[in-house]
């Protein structure tokens, strides 16, 4: 069964550093997403990506965040200057349309 692959599984970074979280979505899916889950809290939508551009983003997704699909397979989330409150589990997902969401196994980001 096709999978969404996320790397790394765990990343520790110093406050103020840039991080790039990587994802390989399922190739024939149309929609790509990033969600985050702060420990003990609910899952929050960050951004959706369709037709090689951002289609929707939440209030959380401010200027510190950006997404790219540089080569048609990878889908990256960049945080330019990390803050302590960015520590969370970040999930990538892809969706062919409507239902059929497939989540990656997540990247645990720890900002120290």
């Amino acid at each position: 069964e096709p999978e969404v692959t996320q790397t790394p599984s765990h990343q520790v970074t110093q406050m103020g550093q840039e991080v790039i979280l990587r994802c390989v979505p399922i190739s024939n899916h149309l929609y790509f997403y990033w969600y985050r889950q702060i420990l003990g809290q609910k899952v929050e939508f960050l951004v959706s990506f369709y037709n090689n551009e951002i289609s929707e983003k939440s209030e959380i997704f401010d200027d510190q965040f950006s997404v790219e699909r540089p080569d048609g397979s990878n889908f990256t989330l960049k945080i330019r200057s990390t803050k302590l409150e960015d520590s969370a589990m970040y999930f990538c997902a892809s969706n062919p349309e409507i239902y059929g969401y497939t989540f990656g196994s997540g990247t645990r980001l720890t900002v120290v």
């Binding site: 609910k42 289609s55 999930f91 349309e97 409507i98 969401y101």
Partner: protein, 117 residues
């Protein structure tokens, strides 16, 4: 704006018992989709079951079934013959059908389910 509420932060039952997790939601839309996701300690998000709002029949997947009450905006998950491997966080999620939402999921806060041996 849509909201999803899970009123049970934590539940525990004995192995082999049946347990029901509650979920209510608020929307003005008539067509939408509802989901239950399981998140075990590994923290991977696993789809358990989904329900299309236009279908009157409740979805079932083996030991998992839902009680979908559209008028009451209620979507509970029943786990029959619970197993130790069912121990996990369970999240209820809502998705609009309309393309304007880009099929974004709106999540409840989750219910921690513990199955005791």
């Amino acid at each position: 704006a849509q909201t999803v509420t899970q009123s049970q932060p934590e539940m525990s039952v004995q192995e082999a018992e049946t347990v029901t997790l509650s979920c209510t939601y608020d929307t003005s839309e008539s067509n939408y989709y509802l989901f239950w996701y399981k998140q075990p300690p590994s923290r991977q998000m696993i789809l358990v079951i989904r329900q299309e709002a236009y279908k009157q029949q409740n979805a079932t997947e083996n030991r998992f079934s839902v009680n979908f009450q559209k008028a009451a905006k209620s979507f509970s998950l029943k786990i029959s013959d619970s197993q130790l491997g069912d121990t996990a966080m369970y999240f209820c999620a809502f998705m609009s059908e309309g393309g304007h939402s880009n099929y974004q999921l709106i999540w409840g806060a989750g219910t921690k389910l513990i199955i005791k041996p």
